[in-house]
């Protein structure tokens, strides 16, 4: 197999990543299976929303039930908020990723960052980036999985607009954020 050579800074012994085209075909076939078996695509951000709605409902039920947004994830109370398709799918994602990581010897506690940034700043950025991502995904009704990947394959108009803007947004701040990664 023509092994994809990762950036030297990323490479550790025995941890070469798969060829991106091979991994892409694999991912595409999983997505196709989701269309054929379920009649829906893959997702991720919805699982975070269900979990958050469940947590808030646990801590402050009156607050959660008065909130229009969480209400949508809690439903009429007859089913558990975590008994959602995307919650099970994301548990699967974590299982599959861990399996792949263990097979390649890539599972270990570490922090992904460039050489010039401190751990504290990197973690602060990770938190801020997660918050921004949540806002973006909610505005767009889906994230890179539910919109770009799934809707991209189905030629969904909103998904293609979204996907183009993800790259525009990323490239527009890349120069400003280069200290974190290079």
């Amino acid at each position: 197999m023509p092994a994809h050579t990762p950036d030297p800074a990323h490479a550790r012994p025995g941890s070469a990543y798969a060829n991106p085209y091979v991994a892409g075909v694999g991912l595409g076939l999983v997505l196709l299976a989701a269309f054929v078996i379920m009649g829906r695509g893959l997702g991720a951000s919805g699982a975070f929303s269900s979990t958050m709605a469940w947590l808030v409902n646990l801590v402050a039920p009156a607050h959660a039930q008065a909130n229009e947004y969480f209400q949508g994830y809690l439903g009429d109370g007859t089913t558990h908020p975590l008994k959602a398709w995307l919650v099970f799918e994301v548990i699967g994602v974590m299982t599959g990723a861990m399996l792949s990581g263990l097979l390649a010897g890539r599972v270990h506690l570490s922090i992904e960052k460039g050489p010039r940034v401190s751990t504290a700043i990197r973690l602060l950025c990770a938190f801020a980036g997660g918050m921004l991502m949540a806002f973006g995904a909610h505005l767009a009704r889906g994230c890179t999985s539910g919109q770009a990947l799934t809707g991209g394959a189905l030629l969904n108009v909103g998904s293609w607009a979204f996907m183009i803007m993800v790259f525009v947004g990323g490239y527009s701040v890349a120069w400003l954020m280069r200290w974190q990664w290079r």
Binding site: V90, M131, M133, A174
Partner: protein
């Protein structure tokens, strides 16, 4: 046999959760194999020295797109039963922009952060906490931005419908764009690589 199986009543809600778990395993396995449990690998897309994000994403899109097109043509897949997220153009353009910024600031997207958490990336765990915090904040401000979130509604609509072109023509264009993009991505990687 007609698909989607779930929509044609081959199995119920309980089994659909098992299907979700199994499909998730495949999804997560592919993400980690590609290196997408690593924020540096993902962020590299925006610094042009490793365009794996583009290559994997577009290969997956083209693969699944050709699959649904073929299965639709031979009559095995009822594409009208495959769920399309409705288009709300304004919110989705702004959402994409915000998400793209969050991608470079945080280093992940929600799906890849799940892969990062599962492989022990502490920044991925903090990022996931950020998603929860952002979700809470979004829910709090939702009433005041609701009008915008629901603006520009176009319904469930595809590019062939909006552009008035046959499905097959758009599929062909996407394939050509992807192939040219893959060729260009390789060129850019080598050019950036030779400079550093």
């Amino acid at each position: 046999m007609m698909t989607p199986l779930y929509k044609y009543g081959f199995f119920g809600d309980e089994l659909s959760l098992v299907v979700a778990f199994v499909l998730g395993i495949g999804f997560g396995f592919c993400l980690e194999r590609a290196g997408f449990g690593s924020a540096r690998k993902l962020a590299a897309q925006f610094y042009l020295y490793d365009m794996s994000v583009f290559k994997v994403m577009f290969t997956a899109i083209v693969t699944a797109m050709l699959g649904v097109t073929y299965l639709g043509w031979i009559g095995w897949l009822d594409l009208s039963q495959v769920y399309l997220v409705p288009t709300f153009l304004g919110p989705q353009i702004l959402g994409g922009l915000v998400l793209g910024v969050g991608f470079v600031v945080g280093g992940y997207c929600p799906g890849t952060s799940a892969a990062a958490v599962a492989t022990g990336r502490v920044d991925g765990m903090v990022y996931a906490l950020g998603i929860f915090a952002g979700t809470f904040a979004y829910a709090e401000v939702y009433p005041s931005i609701k009008a915008f979130v629901n603006s520009n509604e176009m319904g469930q609509v595809t590019l062939p419908e909006v552009l008035g072109l046959p499905w097959g023509v758009i599929v062909f264009v996407v394939v050509v764009v992807a192939v040219v993009g893959f060729w260009g991505a390789g060129k850019v990687e080598r050019w950036i690589g030779s400079r550093s």
